[in-house]
Amino acid sequence: MRSRSNLFLIAILALISTPLVIMYVFQLIDSVSRPALGGFLPQTWELGNWRFLWETIDSARPSIWRVTFNTFVFAASTALLVCAFSITAAYALSRLNFPARRFFLAGLIMLHAFPTITLIIAIFIVLQFLGLYDSLIGVILVKAALELPFGIWIMKGFYDSVPWEIEMAGVQDGASRFRVWRELILPQVKPGLAALLIFSFLAGWSEFILPLVLAPGADAQVLATYMNAVIADDMRPDYGLFKAIGVFYALPVIAVYLLFQKQLMNIYGGGTKG
């Protein structure tokens, strides 16, 4: 009885998962093959789909390596900034008693729910005022700031789970609060910090709207805007090329996912952004 209803469940699940599975499978197949005209089954092997790696696909486009480097710098810098700001701010909110702490906590919860994308028009103009428009630094700062409430929220959760006794013991032995934080508490939240780092890196790696709006020039292009531009420019879509670029773009994401699956599942479960 149980196994029969399980089989039924699996059948339904398999059915509704079919579109996704087809997309994943053909994503890989089409990146190295060419289908017959008007069909979808692979006909010939085609490594030319990967030509973007060794030549610029058309004259106006920057080299893929330059773009990949930009994407890495963007994702890594935002991740580091988010982590650096979050570990201090979250500790203060979790453990330190300072004026208006309740106010900040309420503000954090509101910011955590607030849809930041609605501010993009104003941020666009703020960056122009600051002279950071169309530069990688500008987008990095914006992305880091927008991810910050989420980062603080997650880190606060980790700090909350560290037993007070550890801190008490440190303070009793005469260490300053700063030293207690650095030498006793930080090692306790390391796994959380690692998870936040990975999560923010992935968020930066995939980000599309912010670079599109705030840094549209060729110098600051990232893989998301690069791929979008290649797709948008083609009069007749060359899905072999698009899919090869897609596989190239997604490889680090898949690698990170396979390596840190457990941490990510937890943080995606706890976090709600995106």
Binding site: L13, S17, P19, A92, T118, R177, K262
Partner: protein
């Protein structure tokens, strides 16, 4: 105690500065900008003062007297140093010198007089009428087309033409090229039929996607909960991927599925179905694909959150239910669903807010098409202020669109703060080593 306060302030200030610059200031600026006519043509910093030929038509509407308009149009012709220099570069030094010698500091009331003077050139005459016309134009005294950096410069230039002070004020307003404060954005929003179209589209989009998301997310979480671990894990991975794959890539896969030479068309072609663009063929096609694209990602989030809440239900409750002879349906109905009330409420409200305001997947897929039939409010704000084919980006109007969303965002997040105890809703993110 004081030291601790200092530490607290030092620890929180970097985050606080970031929040002020990129949250608080933009919220305030969205309000401010929505009351301006800021656009690409006005620039975002201050403007200059310049009257152009085409402005003249608008002047009487702006309350400038006809007298002043005539003065602006024909302020006569004069042998000034600037006009002679301009004449020299176009027509040569000999002619310019002769002209300066024959008519020192002369002024002419009409173009005919000016052209007559130009006919007087003897050493190197201007023979064709066309040349003389062009040359006469160089001597015309007019403030049209001139740029003045400050208001005073402009006012001086205007009063030099003997235009009365009463006319100067409206003239200055027309001449200013920078942005000004206005309420016309909101009047426009109120009047445009498109506004209502976008609002209705948004409601359709949010409600359809929401129902799809929550139902599918709940189904995925429940079904994988009852299945053996390995199979459950496979399905969870399949459904987790849309969430971590970059949006550009994820939507490209859907484009490949739906374009007229794509997977669906190729699959159905042997059955005699016409090849169509399954994403943009009609509004119904557009909405269906949009709901699926967003729904799969949303269901992914729902699945993760619901799964973690399911695992938090003590196993003993299921044992007890089984002992009492409850089947799977009854377990779901009487044990699971009552305990899932809060997570479902949370996902629903969270996704309402996020669907209302996010436009990334729509921008990448239908981009509001076909026509403007799948254009939602947030996308309209983006199109108005940040990307349109006309090229004149209307920041002010776009900010007015965005302001509606900002206000809804603030209200809803304040309600969440008031009613939801976030800490209880979301399982504490804790990662065991």
């Amino acid at each position: 105690m004081n030291k601790q306060k200092l530490l607290g302030a030092a620890f929180i200030s970097p985050a606080l500065i970031a929040v002020i610059v990129f949250f608080l200031v933009p919220v305030i600026l969205t309000v401010v900008f929505s009351f301006t006519n800021m656009s690409t043509s006005t620039g975002i910093l201050g403007g200059e003062y310049q009257l152009t030929q085409s402005d003249l038509d608008d002047l009487s509407g702006a309350g400038v007297s006809d007298e002043a308009i005539t003065l602006l149009q024909g302020a006569g012709y004069a042998m000034t140093d600037e006009s002679l220099t301009a004449f020299e570069t176009e027509f040569g030094k000999t002619r310019a010198d002769e002209l300066a010698q024959k008519f020192p500091d002369a002024t002419f009331d009409s173009r005919r007089d000016m052209e007559r003077a130009l006919k007087e050139l003897r050493t190197d005459p201007l023979r064709s009428t066309r040349e003389r016309k062009a040359a006469a134009e160089l001597f015309r005294q007019s403030i049209l087309g001139q740029r003045y950096e400050t208001k005073d410069d402009f006012a001086n230039a205007v009063s030099a033409l003997n235009i009365s002070a009463a006319d100067t004020q409206p003239l200055t307003e027309v001449a200013y090229t920078g942005w000004t404060f206005t309420t016309q954005n909101f009047e426009l929003l109120w009047q445009l039929p498109a506004t209502w179209r976008y609002a209705i589209n948004t409601v359709i989009y949010v409600s359809l996607t929401l129902v799809f998301n929550v139902t599918l997310g709940l189904f995925l979480a429940l079904s994988t909960f009852f299945l053996p671990d390995r199979i459950a894990q496979t399905f969870r991975t399949i459904w987790f991927l849309p969430r971590i794959l970059p949006p550009v890539l994820y939507v490209m896969m859907w484009q490949w599925m739906t374009w007229d030479q794509g997977f669906i068309s190729s699959l159905l072609a042997p059955l005699g179905v016409d090849r169509i663009d399954w994403m943009r063929h009609s509004a119904v096609h557009g909405w269906t694909v949009l709901v699926l694209i967003n729904g799969f990602v949303g269901a992914s989030l729902g699945m993760i959150l619901f799964s973690s809440s399911l695992r938090a239900i003590p196993q003993t409750q299921f044992y007890a239910a089984q002992v009492d002879g409850a089947g799977r349906w009854q377990q779901i109905r009487y044990v699971i669903l009552p305990q899932m009330r809060w997570p479902i409420l949370f996902i629903t409200s969270y996704q309402t807010l996020s669907l209302l305001t996010s436009f990334e997947y729509i921008l990448l897929s239908t981009d509001g098409g076909p026509g403007r039939q799948t254009e939602v409010w947030a996308l309209a704000a983006y199109h108005t202020a940040l990307s349109n084919y006309g090229g004149n980006l209307e920041y002010g109007l776009g900010a007015a669109y965005a302001l509606a969303l900002v206000i809804i965002g603030i209200i809803l997040s304040a309600i969440y703060l008031r009613f939801f105890n976030f800490r209880e809703l979301v399982a504490k993110p804790r990662i065991e080593q």
